[in-house]
Subunit: 210 residues, 2 copies
DNA sequence: AATTTTCAGATGACGTTGTCACCTCAACCA
DNA sequence: TGGTTGAGGTGACAACGTCATCTGAAAATT
């Protein structure tokens, strides 16, 4: 026998999986609540028992993406059998790999607060208080950032670690994003995304050591 | 008296302006063909006389964004009154400024081939031949890249200019994109987007000189 | 054990959207 | 001048997000 809580949890999981799969295949617009429901074996209205709206569902998917990334970097960081510099390279590569394997999810990770127009967002938060769901994604992304920052610190020391960590993250994200857009494909640059990531890490680490 | 061609050209312009304005205000989803038409003084069906579909309209807007950027960098590059290193800094800053002023347009610039799933896209192009509209955006983006590359070459020389140019572009794009997403706002990094751009340019130029 | 409450899920409905087929009519060309 | 063209208007359609309402079974209460 299945308790109600179990059944609900299973449905929620199925909804998240279905949404993630549709996201990978066709991007956010391809994630229709009707099809998500169908894939999860429920009807179009069911998702509203688990998520406030479509955006919340996608935010939850992004949230799990950050979690996975954070776990991976954490495992990497706490592995004593490898030198710190290798760890940093692999931490960056973890982000790049996820971006390569799941381009649309990558886009989602760096877009969960897309709707806010900057200023409007802060006003909204001041008035309504922090919303429940976005904060989950916020926290998950924060966990990844903490882990990543720790890896950077292990290599470059406390001094300017945040600055260089942010530069690494932004650089890696930019490279992956431009690769998706086809902006690195032109043979104008005479390079590849992999070479760029390599140079990025080397150059930033050297700057950090100085 | 207005000729038909003039009237049509004016409508097309009005449609592009309206779409660009709506894009700036609320992102791609806020660009409704109905509202675009209304702003341009026509009805919802009229845009289809000028653009194949909504995506083509947005692609055309992105195309003009690239054009503007290319023009700006070109003017900068051919100004003899300033040192090459300053020009490079300002070329990067041109991209950053546009990203700051028009976040949604920035997103659009790096996303005009979002729908393609990489492999699928190439198959489609092989079968159907190059589509008319995406190639326009492609060319406009290419013009910007050429101009930017020329600026980089003037500073760092031919050797590895493409590599370092691509790294600069990807880095700048990544920084702006992360800023939009709020991922630089956390005081975890103890830095700002401006500082990051500064470090990026300095570090890459140093690497290029070596 | 019987009854009430709760809540996941189903269903019908509504407004909005992109898109198309069809219509109109003024500018254009022969 | 009469036919052609093509920009724009209009009605219609399917798909979508979302909500109000209903249902039935699990859970809580008595």
């Amino acid at each position: 026998m299945v308790t109600r809580a179990e059944s609900a949890a299973a449905t929620r999981r199925a909804l998240l999986d279905a949404a993630a799969e549709l996201l990978d295949l066709g991007g956010p617009d391809a994630v229709t609540l009707r099809e998500v429901g169908a894939k999860a074996g429920v009807t179009r209205g069911a998702p509203y028992r688990h998520f406030a709206d479509k955006d919340s569902l996608l935010t939850a998917v992004a949230s799990e993406g950050w979690e996975r990334l954070a776990d991976r970097v954490h495992a990497l960081r706490t592995d004593p059998s490898r030198p710190a510099s290798e760890k940093l390279r692999d931490a960056v590569r973890a982000l790049v790999d996820l971006g390569r394997a799941q381009p649309h999810l990558h886009r989602m990770l760096f877009r969960w607060n897309d709707k806010r127009l900057g200023t409007l967002e802060r006003l909204h938060r001041q008035v309504c208080g922090p919303a429940g769901d976005p904060d989950a994604a916020d926290r998950a992304a924060g966990r990844f950032q903490e882990e990543f920052l720790a890896v950077v610190t292990a290599v470059a020391g406390e001094r300017g670690a945040g600055h260089h960590g942010a530069l690494l993250l932004a650089g890696a994200h930019g490279i992956v994003d431009m690769e998706h857009g086809g902006h690195l494909g032109a043979d104008r640059w005479r390079t590849t995304a992999d070479e760029l990531v390599g140079t990025l890490v080397r150059v930033v680490v050297e700057a950090g050591e100085r």
